[in-house]
């Protein structure tokens, strides 16, 4: 909840973005759809949350009060800090998705879960679920497109219905969602046979082609992350504003 801490965080994430080589324009572009919500939330918090928060180590001060509305130094801080947090979160997640493929993330999750497999967590199987889902997204996407085109060819309504008819909208959605599900199940049946034919009998004892190995950079990243976290915690207690 501290200004200083968030300012530092903001700078660090910005630095990371620059380091990653992902275009800044792209990252800011990702911020745009979130802006209205950030603003609405900020207004709500500014007007109605005056009593909910008191800044650390500071006396509560009221700037404005009228009926339900009261603005305090607490709500101002809440607005600024939470907006900053959102921006940091958006930066970090778009950084992740812009630098790492979903396939790599899946491998990463598998590696993370591996130590738990001795407690019965099926790490290998779960990673396989992730892989299969990524594999099928483009397939089902094409399928969906054809289903919608086939329906349009046979006179499906192109015009948008009003929101009030949402039950019939739901039915309309169901009309192409249902064949999509049926197709997914059907492909699934094929895939089950194919996996069995390729000797799949469960995740235990499989070897693995892809190995994520810790390299110097990874240790470095972990180290920096750890030091930084401790630093931030320290900041929280020494400079609580």
């Amino acid at each position: 909840m501290s200004y200083v801490a968030n300012a530092i965080l903001l700078l660090v994430t910005l630095g990371l973005v620059l380091l990653s080589g992902v275009s800044l324009k792209y990252i800011f572009f990702g911020l745009k759809p979130a802006l209205p919500l950030i603003i609405v939330l900020a207004i709500l918090q500014l007007l109605f949350y005056g009593d909910a928060f008191t800044p650390h180590g500071m006396a509560s001060r009221t700037y404005f009060r009228w009926g339900w509305i009261h603005i305090t130094n607490g709500s101002v801080q809440l607005v600024i800090v939470s907006a900053a947090r959102f921006v940091e979160l958006l930066f970090l997640t778009s950084l992740l998705t812009n630098t790492t493929t979903l396939t790599d993330i899946t491998h990463g999750i598998e590696d993370m879960l591996k130590p738990f497999s001795r407690f019965g967590v099926p790490a290998n199987e779960l990673a396989l679920v992730g892989t299969i889902s990524l594999r099928f997204v483009p397939l089902l996407g094409e399928q969906l497109e054809t289903i919608m085109k086939a329906q349009a060819s046979r006179g499906a309504n192109v015009a948008h219905k009003s929101k009030l008819e949402f039950v019939s909208r739901a039915r309309q959605v169901a009309a192409f969602i249902v064949p999509l599900f049926v197709d997914a199940f059907r492909r699934g049946e094929d895939l089950i046979l194919a996996m069995q034919a390729r000797c799949y009998v469960g995740g235990r004892g499989r070897s693995s082609f892809v190995r994520l190995r810790f390299q110097r950079m990874d240790y470095l990243a972990y180290g920096v992350g750890l030091v930084f976290s401790v630093l931030m915690l320290g900041l929280q207690s020494y400079f609580p504003f």
Partner: protein, 302 residues
């Protein structure tokens, strides 16, 4: 073909995923025309742009400048056009039947189109009956079956019936025979020929299979890499096997026989495209030289 074509496309271009890193140019300036009562084949290897072209025929994809698509004189780039009516007149059957069945029951699925057209219950029933008869599905036996539990062949017939139930004037089949076994294929081809010859349905047949194309259509367009690279009557196009080969296609074996004979200096009058024609052509050659007494015997008995 003096009258105006029913479907006319000019200088058609199309780009999938425009303005993204995945941009794919599918069409690079295509001209085609389809006349009423014709049967036309569009052939080409996978990815040549065949499907993209035919999806312009019923307005699933709208043309962009400078391309132009006219269906019965109506400009398909006009947003005010009655698109539903165009799609009723130009029916499109896709490759995989599973993608085209939406309703739980066969009868309801075939009635989907007529219902969207606003037909009343009794007429719908008649229409469904007619369409099922056309594809060879027994009305009473099949109307209450679950679409998703049909066999592959039955699904395919249901999908075709679903489009026929719109009573289209033009029927487009986009690789609808891929994966069908020879028995199903023969039946389907016979039914399509009947629809064309007896009911005057205009056929547009998209396929990489040259034997089928030869049997069914009178005129073909050959596509490769987003362009029309050859066009003409089936015989004209099949008379140029080397060129077809360059575009990843082959000719029917019977046509190949004639070409090989020519290459060895044996004159074949007319290049055959079907087995029937092949038998006649080769017979002409054999009977022109008196090798076997039986040839003359056969000729005498005729």
């Amino acid at each position: 073909m003096s009258e105006a074509p029913f479907i006319q496309i000019n200088d058609l271009h199309h780009v999938y995923l425009r303005d993204t890193p995945l941009e794919i140019t599918a069409l690079k300036g295509v001209d085609m025309e389809i006349h009423m009562g014709e049967s036309v084949g569009i052939i080409g290897r996978t990815g040549s742009g065949k499907s993209t072209v035919v999806q312009h025929f019923n307005g699933l994809i709208r043309p962009r400048e400078p391309g132009k698509v006219l269906v019965d004189g109506e400009d398909m780039s006009d947003p005010k056009i009655d698109i539903k009516r165009v799609r009723q007149r130009v029916g499109l059957v896709f490759q995989s039947p599973q993608q085209q069945l939406f309703e739980k029951l066969v009868g309801d699925d075939i009635a989907y189109g007529p219902k969207r057209l606003g037909m009343v219950q009794a007429d719908r029933r008649e229409r469904v009956k007619w369409a099922m008869e056309m594809v060879g599905l027994d009305f009473e036996r099949f109307k209450d079956r679950f679409t998703f539990s049909l066999s592959g062949g039955e699904m395919r017939k249901t999908a075709l019936a679903g489009v026929l139930a719109l009573r289209p004037e033009v029927l487009i089949l986009d690789e609808s025979t891929t994966g069908v076994d020879p028995r199903g294929r023969k039946e389907l081809m016979a039914r399509l020929l009947a629809l064309h010859k007896e009911h005057g349905l205009t056929l547009v047949f998209v396929s990489p299979n040259m034997e089928e194309v030869a049997e069914l259509v009178e005129r073909v367009y050959v596509m490769d890499d987003g362009r029309v690279v050859m066009s003409g009557t089936t015989r004209e196009v099949f008379s140029q096997p080397e060129e077809l080969f360059q575009h990843g296609l082959n000719v029917p074996q019977v046509t190949q026989v004639a070409h090989d004979l020519r290459a060895r200096g044996i004159g074949v009058e007319r290049v055959p495209v079907t087995v029937d024609e092949g038998v006649e052509e080769i017979w002409k050659i054999l009977s022109s030289c008196e090798t076997s007494p039986l040839v003359s015997t056969y000729q005498a008995t005729r």
